[in-house]
Structure formats: structure tokens, C-alpha cells
């Protein structure tokens, strides 16, 4: 009788190898057995299989303790156990590219053979690249060593349905197996196994074992399920896309989480860490957070803008202020960038003085945004939040180049936040016609009740928010008609999508792909406003320009005329650099040189040209932190991931995208849009047109992407009950967690991952 023991790992096919060898003998009329030694194995655990064959009928129902030969499927299993009970002189066949002599010292009493069955299996595409199935190749090698003809091995493979690459692999291993037949040391008179191996087998009792009743230290060892685990969960956290893209640096996910608990005060407190203007941004922000919201893939973005307004309007929160510091800081400009910087500096304890050229505080928030989008009382309240921290305001105080030098001597640091003061014009073949006006100026005059356009036909040129605001203001100031001309298409318009929709609803048409080229006086009479003829040219979109948008190109012979009384230009602005010394390069976060020892920074649109309130707020805050670092050497974190808890072991810098979320675990819910004043009513009034959300329920649509929001589905579904919520922490009991991974698959927001132990 020949008895063979096979060492492999669960899933490698050791039992099948035993069956192949047995089948090759069975088909030759021999009596055979093939079996595995089964226990609670899982994939990858060491496992043994056996095969025995004989000419005579096998009358043996026992395990094999003293095999004639051994086969090792996985070279990592080579160790003393391989030779356990092995008869001296028997073959040890190892799957490895090493020569057999490598193992001579380790196994001195045995014949050795090796074959690179893994490469052979890969060459023949058996199994996968990571888990090649090596058993059919090794069957060929076993045949070569034990005098089983190759065609008999192949007959067994065919009988078992293993064809193609398997038969080739068996043949290759049959040829390539390398042998070292000479024994390193002759066995010292040992020719038969002693049976001692049987004595150490768990299948053979040799005396009393542990008691069921005695506890630890003598009784049956109690098993904690954690001992089975090969992997256990860890908490991880990603950056939600809304937080990632917020120009102000707000913890969007954090304040939504608070609102979802109906805690507007906490939501406001979270927002006030990064912005003094939540009620303002909640009305005028283009909300890139909503464009990046993963919920778009499910049923539409969370209405973050209106929820921020809700928190800003309804929340009550004190602003925390640090102890007073001696260094004084000057801020030039009281727009959102300047006030954001002043606010953050004041919170850090610095005495701050803001110098404003105009008579009122707020910059473009005050003069450039019409009241129907941002009511004055809302702005006053938020400006008051900054002033309430003790920030000193000096109005009607323009700062020129000499004034800046003065400030740099007087203060320990200076921030320049003068925004974009240079307005872009358009050559229309007329001089300073009183019919042509800049949108910013028009809005400012409107704000001061210094303009009416009763009965006029108004044309607004541009595609940004200023264009929309000017057009809609003109409508409210008595215009007979208002139309917008824009040289690109709707897709390229920088204005907030909602504001474009609202303008269209109010009856303002937009001529896309249209460029004004010539303005000529038309007729007038009987006291009516003077009429003009505006020649426009059709455009088409060409290749993308530096902004990434497709450049408009003129269409030949496409000119047409529009009659109008007033032309408002809203073509964008650029910074006025005259305040700085000649040749100064302005970049956010870089201290401007050449101005004594004092740190001078440029912030907001002046430095970034971003053109949004949120961008200005973010720039102001970042610059305030840089001033603080320059003055006190303390580097505070720029980002706010306020809820990264100590039990979160892995914090990814990466943004979590929708495909990493388990969206199928969420129910679809319609977006809460909030109510508008109907277009026919609002056309004639500067009252606010959006009435806001009635409650914060919309916040519950937040998926809390990549951030645990304590939904506790993991706790509910943990089959072992080893996951607990302790306070805000999630506690895994590693002694009992068996590593099943149910918590991972049940987590809707991917904040748990399995980690190999």
C-alpha cells in the first residue's frame, strides 16, 4: 500500500489532488481512498489531504499517520510538520522554483523533489493570477516520482473532467520535476514510523483532557469569537465633497448634521467658526457644494444654500473670542473679504480697524446685490456680528499708496481687501454716452434710490450675477422691457442657476450667442427718453479658452439691430492695483514685500479674482490665520473637520464620491425647494422674493458622505452584538468580533472598513 499526505491551504485544491492521484490508480484497477482532514477551516488555513492505494482491497478506515510520501502545495507551509511521521526515504515534493537541494539540510532522511507548479499553473491559466490552481500540475509531478505513467494521470484528469490547460500542466510538471535522490544522512536504523505521530494526533486520545466545568486555567478553553477573526473593522473618515469645495471652508456636513437634529443653534455655531455671513451666503452663494453633492446621483442635491440661510436666520449662537492680544491689525475694505478677515482676527483677540472708502459698511454686499436677494436688515445683522466683536470701522476713508505705507507703519499687520474696482468696458463706437452705464454703478444707484428707468427699453450685457441683478432691478425700476444679451450659451453663464431661472420667470429674455458691436443714437421726441440702435452680432462657440469655457467666435454677416434706451454693462471687473507699489505681485497667502517690516497681505477678489462672496469669506479667513501665524507663530488648521473623533482610526484626505457610497440604502425623497413670491408680484417690488424653508427637515436628506452620523445601522446589524455606541464613539469589542464584515456592508456612508489582523 502507498500512502500520501498532502499539505495545502483551504481553497488550493489539495483534496482534489488526492482524488486525481487516487483516480489514476482506480482506473488501473487498484483499490484506493482519498480524503481530506476537515475541521473548521476557512479559505487559506493550512489543511491536509490524503490518498492511499493498493493492489489488494483496502480494509483500512484510519487516518494516515506515517505516510510514504508528502506533497506540499504551498512553499510557505514547509516546516518540521511536513516530515511528521514520514517514512525515511519517502519523497517530499514541494511546489517551488527552488532546486530540491535547498531543503536537504531540513529533511536529511528523505528524497526531495521540487517543481514550479505555480508558474506552470499561471502559464496554463489555471485559477486566477493571484490564486493559481496548482493541483493538476502537481499530479503530473507525483506521477513522475511514483512511477505512475503520464497517460494514467491524464486519464484521471479526463475522467474527472479536467481538460485543456490541466492536462498540459500535468505534462509539463511531469517533465520538469527536479529530484535530489541521495539522502543527506542515512536514517539511523529507522525504517518504520514509530506510531508516535498517532499519539500526538487529536484523533487519538491518550488520557483525560480538560474539564467542561473548571474555569480558565484547567478547564475546556472558552473560545472568544474574536479569536477566529482574520480581519476586524476600523473606523475611517473621508472628506465630504461639500466640505471640500466650499470656498468659505465651511463644515457643511457638520452644520447639516446639527440641523438634521433640529438644532439650528448648534448649526449656526458650526458655521460661525468659518463665516460671519451664513444668512447672507444662504441667499446669494452659488453653492458649489450643491453641484458636488453626492445625493445628485440619487434624487437631487441637498438644498444646502437654503439650509444655511435657515441656520443663519433662525439660529442663536455666541461667537467665542480669545483673550485680547496686543498686536493691532488694519484692514482696508469692508466687503466680505475684509469683514471676514476682521471677524477672524477679532475672534483671535486682535484689535482690528477697518478702513472703508465709502459711506457704508459691506462693500459689494451693500451696493452690488439688490435688496430682493439680500434684504438690508439681514446684511445689517451680519455686519453687526462683526462689529459686535469690537472691530473699529472708519468709513469715507479711501486708502491710496501713501495711505497704505502709513498704515504699515502704524499697525503690526495690514490686510488689503479692496476687491475688484476696475470695471470692464465695451467699445461700441460711441463716447461716454449717458445711455451706457456699468451694472455695478447702476445697482449702487438703485440701492440709493437715485435711478428710475420708467418706460425705457433696457439691454443688459453680460452673463454673471451682476447682469442678472441689474436686469431684474431695471424691471423693478419701471422699465418697459428688459433683455439680456450674452455672447456664450446658458451653459457658460457664471450667474447662479437659480437666479437665471428667476430672471426668466420674471419675463426677462436672454439672447445667447449675441455680442453688441455698435451703439448709435436713434430718434427721440415729445419728451420721451432718447432712443438708440444697438447692433449685435451672432456668435458661435469655438475652442475652449483659458477659463475652460468655449470661446465665442463671430458669425459672418449675422448683424442685427435692437432698439433700446439704456445699455447696462456687466462684463466683469478687475483689481485696482494702484494702492500697491509699482510692480507688486499679489498672491493670496503671500506676504507683500517692500513695505517695511510689517506683514501686508492682499485678500479676497483682489488676490484671488474668485468673484463670489463665499470665496471672499474663505480668503479673508485664511489670510487672518496667516496674519496670526506671522504675528504669533501659531499655525491653526485651515480646514474644519470638526467631527473627526478619536475613535476614527483612518482619516482619508480624499473626497468621497458617490460610487463609494451605498446609495441603495437610502430612500428617495424630493428636494425641499422653499417658496417664492410669484413672478407677477415680485416684478414690481424690491421685497425679498425667496421665503426660505419652513423647517430644517431638508437637512435630513444629507447623506453624511464619508462621515459617521451615528445612524447606528452597524450596531443594529452586527450579528455578534459586539458593536456599541458609547457616547459619540463607536466601540468594537475585538475580543468577540469575528470579522464578518456585516457592519461594513451595512454602513451607508462607508465609514467602516475591514482591516486584516
Amino acid at each position: 500500500m502507498v500512502e500520501i499526505r498532502i499539505h495545502g491551504r483551504g481553497g488550493q485544491g489539495g483534496v482534489t489532488l488526492a482524488k486525481i492521484v487516487a483516480t489514476s490508480r482506480f482506473l488501473q484497477g487498484q483499490s484506493v481512498q482519498a480524503f481530506g482532514l476537515y475541521a473548521a477551516e476557512r479559505s487559506g488555513a493550512p489543511l491536509q489531504a490524503f490518498c492511499r492505494y493498493d493492489d489488494a482491497a483496502i480494509a483500512n478506515r484510519n487516518l494516515i499517520y506515517a505516510p510514504d510520501h508528502v506533497v506540499v502545495l504551498d512553499p510557505t507551509l514547509v516546516g518540521p510538520g511536513v516530515a511528521s511521521g514520514l517514512k525515511p526515504g519517502g519523497w517530499i515534493l514541494i511546489n517551488t522554483p527552488e532546486p530540491p537541494e535547498t531543503f536537504a539540510e531540513q529533511f536529511p532522511h528523505n528524497r526531495l523533489a521540487t517543481v514550479d507548479a505555480t508558474s506552470i499553473a499561471r502559464d496554463n491559466r489555471l485559477g486566477t493570477r493571484s490564486v493559481p490552481i496548482v493541483n493538476t500540475a502537481l499530479a503530473g509531478a507525483v506521477g513522475a516520482l511514483l512511477g505512475i505513467a503520464l497517460q494514467e494521470i491524464r486519464a484521471a484528469l479526463e475522467h474527472l473532467g479536467f481538460r485543456g490547460g490541466n492536462e498540459t500542466a500535468a505534462g509539463q510538471a511531469y517533465e520538469r520535476v527536479r529530484r535530489a535522490e541521495a539522502l543527506q544522512r542515512p536514517p539511523r536504523g529507522v525504517t518504520e514510523a514509530t506510531g508516535s505521530e498517532a499519539a500526538s494526533s487529536p484523533f487519538v486520545a491518550t488520557g483525560r483532557g480538560p474539564s467542561f466545568l473548571e474555569g480558565a486555567g484547567g478547564g475546556l478553553p472558552g473560545i472568544r469569537t474574536g479569536e477566529w477573526a482574520t480581519q476586524q473593522p476600523k473606523r475611517q473618515q473621508y472628506v465630504p465633497p461639500c466640505n471640500h469645495v466650499c470656498p468659505a471652508g465651511n463644515d457643511v456636513q457638520g452644520f447639516l448634521h446639527a440641523l438634521a437634529r433640529d438644532d439650528a443653534d448648534e448649526a449656526l455655531a458650526i458655521l460661525l467658526r468659518t463665516t460671519p455671513f451664513p444668512a447672507t451666503c444662504g441667499r446669494v452663494c452659488p453653492a458649489p457644494c450643491m453641484d458636488s453633492c453626492n445625493r445628485i446621483e440619487l434624487d437631487g442635491a441637498v438644498n444646502v444654500r437654503q439650509l444655511e440661510r435657515f441656520a443663519g436666520d433662525r439660529g442663536r449662537a455666541e461667537v467665542a473670542v480669545s483673550r485680547a492680544r496686543p498686536e493691532c491689525v488694519a484692514v482696508v475694505g469692508s466687503g466680505p473679504a475684509g469683514l471676514s478677515a476682521a471677524y477672524q482676527l477679532a475672534r483671535l483677540g486682535y484689535p482690528v480697524t477697518v478702513h472703508e472708502a465709502g459711506p457704508q459698511i459691506g462693500g459689494l454686499l451693500r451696493t452690488g446685490i439688490p435688496r430682493f436677494r439680500l434684504p438690508e436688515d439681514v446684511l445689517d445683522r451680519e455686519v453687526g456680528r462683526v462689529l459686535g466683536l469690537g472691530v473699529r470701522m472708519v468709513t469715507d476713508h479711501p486708502i491710496d499708496r501713501a495711505g497704505l505705507l502709513e498704515l504699515s507703519r502704524e499697525f503690526d499687520a495690514v490686510l488689503v481687501a479692496t476687491g475688484l474696482q476696475e470695471l470692464r468696458g465695451l467699445r461700441l463706437g460711441v463716447g461716454n454716452s449717458e445711455a451706457v452705464e456699468q451694472g455695478i454703478d447702476f445697482l449702487d444707484r438703485s440701492h440709493r434710490d437715485e435711478v428710475r428707468v420708467d418706460g425705457e427699453d433696457v439691454v443688459v450685457v453680460g452673463g454673471g450675477n451682476t447682469a442678472m441683478d441689474a436686469a431684474r432691478s431695471a424691471l423693478r425700476l419701471g422699465a418697459n422691457s428688459v433683455r439680456v444679451v450674452y455672447r456664450r450659451t446658458r451653459r457658460e453663464m457664471p450667474a447662479i442657476r437659480e437666479e437665471i431661472d428667476e430672471a426668466l420667470e420674471e419675463g426677462i429674455p436672454i439672447d445667447f450667442l449675441t455680442q453688441p458691436v455698435l451703439l448709435r443714437p436713434g430718434g427721440s421726441g415729445n419728451g420721451a427718453p432718447r432712443s438708440y440702435r444697438l447692433t449685435c452680432r451672432r456668435m458661435e462657440l469655438g475652442a475652449p479658452d483659458a477659463s475652460g469655457r468655449r470661446r465665442p467666435v463671430e458669425v459672418q454677416d449675422s448683424d442685427f439691430e435692437i432698439s433700446c434706451h439704456r445699455l447696462i454693462l456687466a462684463l466683469g471687473q478687475s483689481p485696482d492695483m494702484s494702492v500697491f507699489p509699482e510692480g507688486t505681485e499679489v498672491r493670496e497667502g503671500e506676504r507683500l514685500l517692500g513695505l517695511l517690516e510689517t506683514p501686508v497681505f492682499a485678500v479676497g477678489d483682489l488676490a484671488t479674482n474668485e468673484g463670489t462672496v463665499a470665496g471672499a469669506i474663505g480668503s479673508g479667513r485664511r489670510s487672518a490665520l496667516q496674519i496670526h501665524a506671522a504675528l504669533n507663530g501659531e499655525h491653526l488648521p485651515i480646514t474644519e473637520h470638526a467631527r473627526a473623533r478619536p475613535d476614527v482610526e483612518i482619516r482619508h484626505d480624499e473626497v468621497i464620491r458617490a460610487d463609494a457610497m451605498r446609495l441603495h440604502l437610502f430612500e428617495r425623497q424630493p428636494v425641499a425647494e422653499g417658496a417664492h413670491v410669484p413672478p407677477e408680484v415680485r416684478r414690481s417690488t424690491f421685497d425679498e422674493i425667496h421665503m426660505g424653508l419652513p423647517d430644517a427637515g431638508e437637512a435630513q436628506r444629507c447623506l453624511s458622505c464619508g462621515v459617521c452620523n451615528e445612524c447606528d445601522l452597524c450596531v443594529t446589524y452586527c450579528p455578534e452584538g459586539v458593536l456599541k455606541r458609547v457616547g459619540h464613539d463607536l466601540v468594537f469589542d475585538s475580543a468577540y468580533c469575528k470579522g464578518c464584515g456585516v457592519c461594513v456592508t451595512e454602513c451607508p456612508r462607508n465609514v467602516i472598513l475591514m482591516s486584516h489582523l
Binding site: A18, Y38, R61, N62, G195, V204, T206, G207, L220
Partner: protein, 396 residues
Amino acid sequence: MPADLVTGNHAAGYALSVAAEANRGARGAACGIYPITPQTEIVEYVASFPFTKTRVVPVESEHSAMGVSIGASLAGARAFTASSSNGIAYMVENIMVAGFYRLPIIMVAVNRTLGPPWNIWADQGDTLMLRDFPWIQFYCEDNQEVLDTTLLAFRLGEDRRILLPVLVAMDAFILSHTQMGTELPEQGVIDRYLPPLDLPHRMRHEDPTTLGGLVWPNVAMSLRLEIDEAMSRVPEVFEESRSAFIEGLGRDPGDAVQALFTEDAEKVLVVSGTIATTAREVVRRRRADGERIGLVKIKMFRPFPESAVREACRSARKVGVLDRNYAAGVGGIFWQELRSVFQGAGDGLLIQDYLTGVGGGDVTPAMIDDVLADLEARSEAERPVWMGMGSPAGAG
């Protein structure tokens, strides 16, 4: 007859499937199935068999598996299932029901240690706990015997003189997961061996009634007697079924009691299951050395073949019983049966129990030699000897 290298589970699955298929000309077949280690491959085999007229119903528990088979059998279908260990324990209520309903349901059981603590290896405690139910029980020692006995069980249980369920047991892993050369009879052969089932008391939808409602004690006792009479006919019908098997398949599925060298044996070992194979080799070796030793393998445990066992032990002075099972407070269950067989049979017969391989241990030739050394030295029977546990001669 085609032969192949198959596991005990495969052999059992094959036998159940071809037997079910053989009833396709009558009312077909059905089974409820539920997997449990080490029986799972049986239900996998059955579930994938291309039946003509058999319904395989996967259910949520062993209790329901037997429930489905009971329902199918009551409707006149050929019915069967398979289970093991704690699965059988959970099935017990319906196992009993099948017997009292006189339904010829065939169950293949893979003998596995009852837990806790958890253990998947061979021990007969799971099926022997059914010993007082109206079930015929067989224990097998190789895969061919599993296959043959399962086929025979249908013919025996469905016989009008019997109408009792039959259990066919094999040792976990030693048979269930070990590949052995096995002859697999073709369907046509089985079609001829197993007559179509015509259950006399089957339920008929054209005349709906309830079977098994309340009966008075006088009727209940009478029904028990009816079962006892059926049980008493089993040896005779078994022999007929066995003869027909030999005739139809050209192979002996094995006698209910298989005696070797017992004519003049002074010592006799009584064994069952796979231990029989190992013990037979030991006995043959010692016989060759001139020792007057014999072997009795008990294949049929219920009804217990009293007279055949008594006959086989006629010349013995000492009987050693090897039990791979343990009845709490008693000892080995086969030993218990042997003692009752020889109760009052006269003085001078020593019947000693040896608990071997309880909990799935490997019963090696060396251990059986230890048993025989103890039996040789012993002058009177004592409490069961736990082999390998360090008790007197059983230091294994």
C-alpha cells in the same frame, strides 16, 4: 455495472436519487432537504439531479425537511431526506411522527457527534437516540454498503408487510467525505428492483380526511402492537429484499448480522459501522496466529436481530462490545442491547463494553489489540472501559 470513485455522501445521494426516479411511473417522489455538515453533499447531489417526477423542497430547518417528506409520503409519493447530528435532534418530533404514521420514508444519516461542544466527527449518538422510535436502522462500513443499503431500504420499508421508515447511517468523514471505488447501478436496474409505491393509507384529495386524530387508549395500544408485528416481520422481508438485490444487482448488500470465525470462537468482538472493517483485519491477523477469536458485525440495529446475534455468539465465553456512542448513565448502546439479548441465557458469558472513538476519535488496530488484551485478562465484566482515557487496560 459502472464503477467510480465517490464519497459516501455521493453514494447516498445517488441511491436516493435513482430510487426516487424509479417511482416516476407511479406517484413520483419528493423530499424536504436542509444541509448540515457533514451531510450537505447529499442534499446538494439530490438538489441537482435531473428528475422526471420528483420535487426537491429546500426548507428552513430539519424539522420542516422531515415535515415535507411526511406530507409527500402521505400523498403517496416515494419520500426521503438526509440529516446529521444536532439536525437530527431538531428533527426528532417529526421523525417520530413519520414512524407512527407508518410512512416508508428513507433517511440517510451521517453519524456525527452531538454538541456542544461543537464537533463534526463520527459518533453514533445522534441516530441511536432514535432507537425507541418505529424506525428500522442500518449501520454501514463502506460507501458501497451505504449505496446498496439505501436502495434496499426503499424495497424493505415500502413492503406492505412492513410500511415503516428506514434509517441508513454512515460514519462522518470516514465514509461521508472519503472517496472509494463504488459501483453505481444504472437506472434501469433500479427500476426493476424497486416496485412502484402504492401506499395503502395514502391521502386522497377526492376524499379529504384527517389521519392521526384523537384515539382512545385501547386503539392506541393496538396500533403499537401493529407496529410490533411489522417490526417482527422485518428480518424475513429483509432477507427477501436482500435476495432480490443479489439477483437483480449481482452483489450482496450484506446480512443483518455478519459473523466471522464465530463457529469456534472463545472471544467475540461485536462491532458496527467503520470500526467493523478495522476490527475484521485485527481478528483475521490474530486468527492466523491461532487465536480462537471471532467477529460479529451488526448491520441492522432496529429491529435488533436477537436470534442472529445469539447464534453468532454461541461458542463464545467472552464478548467485547465496541461502542462509538454513549448513553448517559448506562454506557455503550450496543452493549446494552447485547446484555438484554443474553439476559438469563445462562452463566459463564462475560459481556464487556469498550467505548472507542466516542466523539470521533480514530479507532486504530492498536486500540483494538488493547481491547483484546483487556478482554483476555478479565475474569468478570465491569463498568464500560473508556479506551484512551487512562482507565485500567485502555491506556491506548
